[in-house]
């Protein structure tokens, strides 16, 4: 009987559309990666990666932007990780369901839905003007803290949920304090989840442009010596993505594609790293 099911021509059309959609998505990705590599790979050289763009010397290089990007990542994660993890611990381990938790979770969700341009405006007027930090890497980092906070909180929460309840009860039963238990049992168990959150946050920072344009500024020179490196937090600095945008709007497409190649490589690495961690996570779950 089953064999006699009517063959509907409409079915064939739908199958066709479904396959076309999937093929389109794959071709789109391959096209984007392929085209960026085709236009950009010849631009990327050792000099390009380690040099600095100079009108006087006629050189182009993105070393300054690389340093700025790393700087903002470090500053942001230094501030955002304790807060994000702390928030997750509070929500999962301390809070009892109630108004406060609802408000906090609602706020976290809103925070992740606000577009980056709004973060940029807020960062510019609050950190830049009210706190008088001006265009600086610190202003940019503080703005990014707000943006990546939900990512870290959520991933940590997910990880904490997978830690078996028995671990907690066992530790408390043996006389451990709650804080001691969190420190020695929960956090190590949740570590892969926390790291996943951190890596995703780094990806967000690397790709961000609108929020950083108005907060971190666009300087592209390398700091001169260690003290200048430290004080760099209070000076303007453009990340790779900002430089890509600026080069693009100046019509310097070669540089833009060169940076695009570098960004794609970073994005691929980040994707790979999260995959690896997720696998590790799964193994943990089974144990």
């Amino acid at each position: 009987m089953i064999d006699k099911k009517k063959v509907r021509p409409a079915d064939g059309v739908m199958y066709g559309l479904i396959y076309l959609s999937a093929i389109f998505v794959v071709l789109l990705l391959l096209g984007i990666i392929g085209y960026v590599l085709y236009r950009g790979i010849s631009v990327v050289s050792w000099d390009f990666l380690t040099g600095v763009t100079s009108v006087l010397k006629g050189t182009t290089g993105i070393a300054g932007n690389i340093v700025n990007t790393i700087y903002i990542i470090l500053l942001t994660m230094l501030i955002a990780t304790p807060i994000g993890v702390g928030a997750a611990i509070y929500l999962n381990e301390y809070a009892k369901p109630g108004k406060l938790v609802t408000i906090i979770e609602f706020a976290t969700q809103i925070l992740s839905g606000i577009p980056s341009i709004i973060f940029g405006l807020f960062g510019m007027i609050f950190f830049g003007q009210t706190l008088k930090l001006g265009y600086s890497l610190l202003t940019g980092a503080l703005t990014m803290v707000l943006m990546v906070l939900p990512l870290i909180t959520r991933n940590t929460q997910e990880a904490l949920k997978t830690v078996p309840e028995g671990y907690r009860q066992g530790a408390i039963g043996l006389g451990s304090g709650k804080w001691y238990m969190i420190r020695t049992i929960l956090l190590p168990c949740a570590m892969p989840g926390i790291i996943t959150g951190v890596i995703l946050a780094i990806g967000r920072i690397v790709g961000e442009s609108a929020a950083l344009l108005f907060t971190a500024g666009s300087a592209h020179l390398l700091p001169d010596g260690f003290t200048e490196f430290l004080s760099k937090a209070f000076h303007s600095g453009g990340t790779l993505t900002i430089q890509l945008y600026l080069s693009m709007s100046k019509g310097q497409y070669d540089i833009a594609f060169g940076i695009a190649v570098v960004l794609l490589v970073i994005v691929l690495l980040i994707n790979f790293a999260t995959k690896l961690l997720a696998k590790k996570f799964d193994v943990n779950k089974k144990v």
Binding site: V25, P82, G86, A107, L121, A256, N271
Partner: protein
């Protein structure tokens, strides 16, 4: 994390000291959790503080319902942002109409149609699309998309007397970029929604003699509706808030959002003029930011309601 120093000695500490460190830890975590609330409140506060003064100086109607945008004119500057609002609404709607069907079909492919091995190849492609920085989409937009658009524009408006040629930077170009950018969001949400549909439903439908396609479109997708809708709302939020990818492909002149017109979105209006503007002009740009913020908040509220509704259902 300074609580460490307190509890390192915790081996044989007194009850009081232990209670103190426990309390301190708890309060620190509470503070960390409240940061998100503080952040949202201060963002709201600042957006309203900075965005409302222009309403009093220029007038609510003059800003929201006028179409003339001449913010820097020496005589009678005008600040009507109606076209800008309409562009954001039209652009987002079109991007959804283009991106959502494509996204749902791809999700169907991944979950119902493709052999496991093939799905394992396509799924990472979707994830990677989501991870590509938006400026790269913008870059490819001006290099590849706008020249094509210009050719098309020349053919369509060959005999037009009134059309202002845009060189390919127009609403359609922006919509295409936006549609591609929301694709991963829609696919991912739809995939998890479809996976959550009870297998019994499918088996029952197939057993009743429905074809696989009929089952997918008449049974599975309706059952996954709320999850897919969540994906669409997330996509709307993403399209509405995107700035850098479309700032160079949309042409950036303030016009009625017709497909081949050069247009300005709420987001691109802020990006292109914020750094230059001063005085009242700058205040109106913050008002544009406020309008965008209100749109996003409404979408967020809808989203929360939907997620809550879904939780109640399950």
């Amino acid at each position: 994390m300074k609580k460490n120093t307190v509890s390192i000695k915790s081996g044989k500490q007194s009850k009081a000291a232990r209670a103190f460190s426990e309390n301190l830890a708890k309060n620190c975590f509470l503070f960390a959790a409240v940061v998100a609330v503080l952040a949202v409140l201060s963002i709201m506060l600042y957006m309203f503080l900075k965005g409302t003064p222009a309403f009093f100086k220029v007038g609510l109607n003059e800003i929201l319902f006028e179409t003339e945008w001449r913010p820097a004119a020496k005589e009678n500057p005008s600040f009507g942002i109606l076209y800008i609002i309409l562009t954001s609404v039209a652009g987002t709607t079109l991007a959804i109409m283009l991106g959502v069907p494509l996204g749902i079909l791809t999700a169907v492919f991944l979950t119902e149609v493709a052999p496991k091995k093939l799905a394992a190849l396509v799924q990472p492609a979707v994830e990677l699309l989501a991870a590509i920085p938006s400026v790269i989409y913008g870059l490819l937009g001006i290099i590849i998309l706008t020249p094509w658009m210009y050719k098309l524009e020349k053919i369509i408006f060959e005999d037009s007397e009134t059309h202002q040629f845009t060189g390919g930077a127009n609403l359609i170009s922006a919509v295409i970029v936006l549609a591609i950018m929301i694709l991963p969001t829609v696919v991912n949400m739809s995939v998890s929604a479809i996976r959550a549909v009870d297998d019994k439903l499918k088996s029952a439908s197939l057993a009743l003699g429905a074809t696989k396609i009929q089952t997918i479109f008449k049974v599975v997708l309706p059952a996954a509706k709320s999850g897919i809708m969540t994906g669409i709302v997330l996509g709307i939020g993403r399209a509405l808030g995107e700035a850098m990818a479309i700032s160079l492909v949309s042409g950036s002149s303030v016009n009625l959002p017709l497909p081949f017109n050069s247009v300005r979105f709420l987001t691109t209006a802020i990006v292109s003029e914020m750094s230059y503007a001063s005085g009242l002009h700058r205040q109106v740009l913050f008002t544009i930011g406020l309008v965008l913020f209100v749109f996003i908040m409404v979408i967020n509220l809808v989203l929360t309601k939907m997620i809550q509704g879904k939780e109640k259902n399950t």
